[in-house]
Symmetry: C2
């Protein structure tokens, strides 16, 4: 068997067309979506990433302002900046770019973003809402990986799914999202005795660990879907967590790296921006109607 290669760019393009239409509607209603990106200190590591977000935001009809603060800014000053953005009705979404300097704990910043402007879906309350199956703003990479699986001709209810990697922002949210769709989910990680026992029994495998070559073809059930979320640099090339050649021989569908989950993740970020703007519009209108 040779796997069908999943075209992340095509899925992203379909999503972006819908997002652009919605952003246009919001703009016509006086609520043009607007994101603010916060980076701190030397931005070289994140620059390519931010520039790509900016380009995609333009394509989606979402305004994008990249702010950079000096590396000696204090946590108090930064949370003050966030409080200002939370209160500003012209700002609909806030992105915290990583890496941050050591004295700025990323979780403290994520919690300081109001959940209604949390377009990255990182606030504990956003994560909790996913558990409650109230999908509002979900963590972008996890949502993107699930969107890709949903694009395949597989019935999600009862699907046996194996998630390799149990990070808070990717592995665990994928698990809840898939549970919400009716799948039977097993989450494996570095303490799992034999990952292959679980992955070989699964109809779909998600891998998000950050180890090139971790998943090999003999760890898959023939015909399974493999969604590779890893991004690793090996000898100057970008590769995922799967040993692509052997997996493509066994899997039914496989995502390439790059060109798989990556492009869809940016589209989800833009969809979250539009969704957040709509939520804020409804929230402000309800508050206004109540006041009259």
């Amino acid at each position: 068997m040779t796997a069908t290669v999943i075209d992340g760019k095509a899925i992203s393009a379909r999503m972006m067309a819908e997002i652009r239409a919605e952003a246009g509607e919001l703009e016509a209603a006086g609520w043009a979506p607007r994101l603010v990106s916060i980076s701190v200190g030397d931005v070289a590591a994140a620059e390519l990433y931010v520039r790509n977000q900016q380009k995609q935001a333009e394509a989606a009809g979402v305004a994008f302002e990249a702010r950079n603060y000096p590396s000696d800014i204090s946590l108090e000053q930064l949370t003050g900046v966030l409080a200002g953005l939370n209160a500003d009705p012209r700002v609909n979404g806030i992105i915290i770019q990583r890496p941050l300097p050591a004295h700025i704990p990323v979780k403290a910043l994520q919690k300081a973003v109001h959940p209604i402007k949390d377009v990255e879906g990182m606030h504990p309350s956003s994560i909790g809402n996913i558990v409650y199956n109230d999908l509002t703003l979900g963590p972008c990479t996890a949502v993107a990986a699930v969107e890709i699986l949903k694009s395949l001709p597989l019935k999600m209810e009862g699907l046996d799914v194996c998630v390799i990697g149990h990070s808070e922002i990717v592995g665990k949210p994928i698990a809840f999202l898939m549970m919400g769709l009716g799948a039977t989910v097993t989450v494996c990680h570095h303490m799992t005795r034999q990952v292959a026992v679980h992955s070989r029994a699964a109809d779909a495998v998600f891998v998000a660990v950050g180890k090139p070559g971790l998943v090999t073809g003999n760890m898959l059930k023939p015909g399974a879907a493999l969604i590779d979320i890893g991004i690793n640099r090996v000898e100057g090339r970008t590769v995922g967590d799967a040993d692509y050649a052997s997996c493509a021989e066994v899997a039914g569908w496989i995502t390439p790296v790059p060109g798989g989950v990556g492009p869809v993740t940016v589209a989800v970020l833009m969809r979250n921006a539009v969704l957040a703007t709509r939520m804020q519009k409804d929230h402000y209108r309800a508050a206004f109607a109540a006041a009259v």
Copy 2:
């Protein structure tokens, strides 16, 4: 094999002794823990439950005030009551008794309780914090079930765990809590093709579905731990979700119903009350120190 019967009352008693000591320390510091229980309308269904909580609170040295509101109270009035309790420093925890009248959506009330007073661990932000492995106030039944498993001589890291039932307040939180302890977790539910495939491979099985006799001995691996969270009334008797006789022959450990998870759940509620009080004390002191 005949399973060792897990004594929930003994585990509860050990926990209650620790909680009482901590409650005493807090009282000596001027922060005697205090819970307010809110029930609405006819309380017959919840009365036994509330009375039991009250008794356990007394035993733990936690003050307990049971409030009942008329069944025609509006959601706005109730959220107003909760806002008052959130702001009142003499109240450290709020319990929303179920069932509620149809016009009062339970989730809306749960979200209206401030997360720092959410002793039932039901707020989306409390659930999200569990996912983030920041165990603050967890949902009582799920935490109790995990406490019981932790009392057994099993290594949690790498343990193969099967959770049957994926409710937001029991099954899913058990899954995250066990992931946080390093277990490999599979979550099964009514859409799972063959529960036995998963349960038979597991070293520990949690069941929380509400179907008497759902788990039978032939669904277990010999020597596995079975934590039965179900509470069902069958012919005037209270039984769990396991077919006790056949499971006790195969399992290594088994919780009885009643006398297993139930008593530990009330102890966890009291521990949450003490924990919440401590968090509030620290929060107020930090705010006071900052103001000076």
